[in-house]
Symmetry: C2
Subunit: 232 residues, 2 copies
Amino acid sequence: MADLGALAQVGCIQIEGAIMKLHNYFRSSTSTRVRVALNLKALETDYLSYALLKDAHKSQSYLAANPQGLVPSLELDDGTVLTQSLAIIEWLDEAYPEPPLLPAGALDRAWVRALAYAIACEVHPVNNLRLLGYIKREFGADDGAVKRWFTHWVETTFAPLEVQLSQSPQTGLFCHGDTPGLADICLYAQVWNNKRFEVDMAPYPIISRIFEACDAVPAFTKAAPPHQPDAV
Amino acid sequence: MADLGALAQVGCIQIEGAIMKLHNYFRSSTSTRVRVALNLKALETDYLSYALLKDAHKSQSYLAANPQGLVPSLELDDGTVLTQSLAIIEWLDEAYPEPPLLPAGALDRAWVRALAYAIACEVHPVNNLRLLGYIKREFGADDGAVKRWFTHWVETTFAPLEVQLSQSPQTGLFCHGDTPGLADICLYAQVWNNKRFEVDMAPYPIISRIFEACDAVPAFTKAAPPHQPDAV
């Protein structure tokens, strides 16, 4: 184990020989997910910010590392670049097993992954920056139409998600039991996104309660968009 | 092990005590993914079809089992209902490890998952039936605008996906090596979707070649939309 204190002073911590770099952006929901996971694993990384509105993630150098031109990506010390937030988090959970982000049983893992994917595959993709840009540009959607779009897709998934969480005997302080994991990570990042569009969270008391439980955990708070060095 | 031959005659195969039911729809891309995974694992299930255009998946009885009201879901013999195609497939790979759908190394798994999620989180969610319905209904998108939308999001991910596959030394007959896995499953299902919108596949020779390699494997062919009992 490296001298964590000394390395922290230069902005990164070397763990098991790896100096990792996180390519990300404060407001990117998928970046928030990976930041939380890194924090839960007590892994610090260099923080590289890409201003999405200025297309910084479309630069030649970044595209060479990640042809999809999306943040986040996690660069390992040997130059390997991991992409897609959920793939990065699964890798982190395999490479650094403690504390686990998925429960021990296969059926429990399926449940937690299903909650996470409901957000990651049904809400976030249809509400991200490039989608909203398209409906503004091609369909002339004004601010009201964009907000209705955003809210509609949150409601479409969050309403049944609230039902699922209310019915599961496994729901605890967090989505599954009393320790935070993959589903909480996705929930937390999405609720931060919702705040930008002032989505009414009153219909989702359990989701709101879990968000607050997460927001009381330093690993989450430290990963929140407003607390990043590039926050504006 | 149950008597597979006898059970097959009644439409299902009992394996390790489980009689599974697949709630799905022939044209649903996420359903195709799970069908391929089940076939690769040599697991047969009862086939329950939900006509999405008739909102069969919004019935009270189905919503009781899966509040998200989405297909596919996989019902186990004890009534447990697994949802979200990728969560189902990860569970299948854990519960029935052979043949594996993910490679052995953690970094290799991260690569395969990233390819799979590029399709599952970037292309499919923005091009599914309810999204297309929304842009028609709310933005007055005509058939041409719907096709442009669909094609745009395929191109946005497939163009860099083609680059990623062309650059990786691990690309083989399939996305990773010479045996099919999670990324191929997502690719195969998405290319079937593309066919409906007559997306020009000429810019994607590697993706096209991998689709053809999959389509030569009976586990894939048997799962393809046109070969399902509810195909119209």
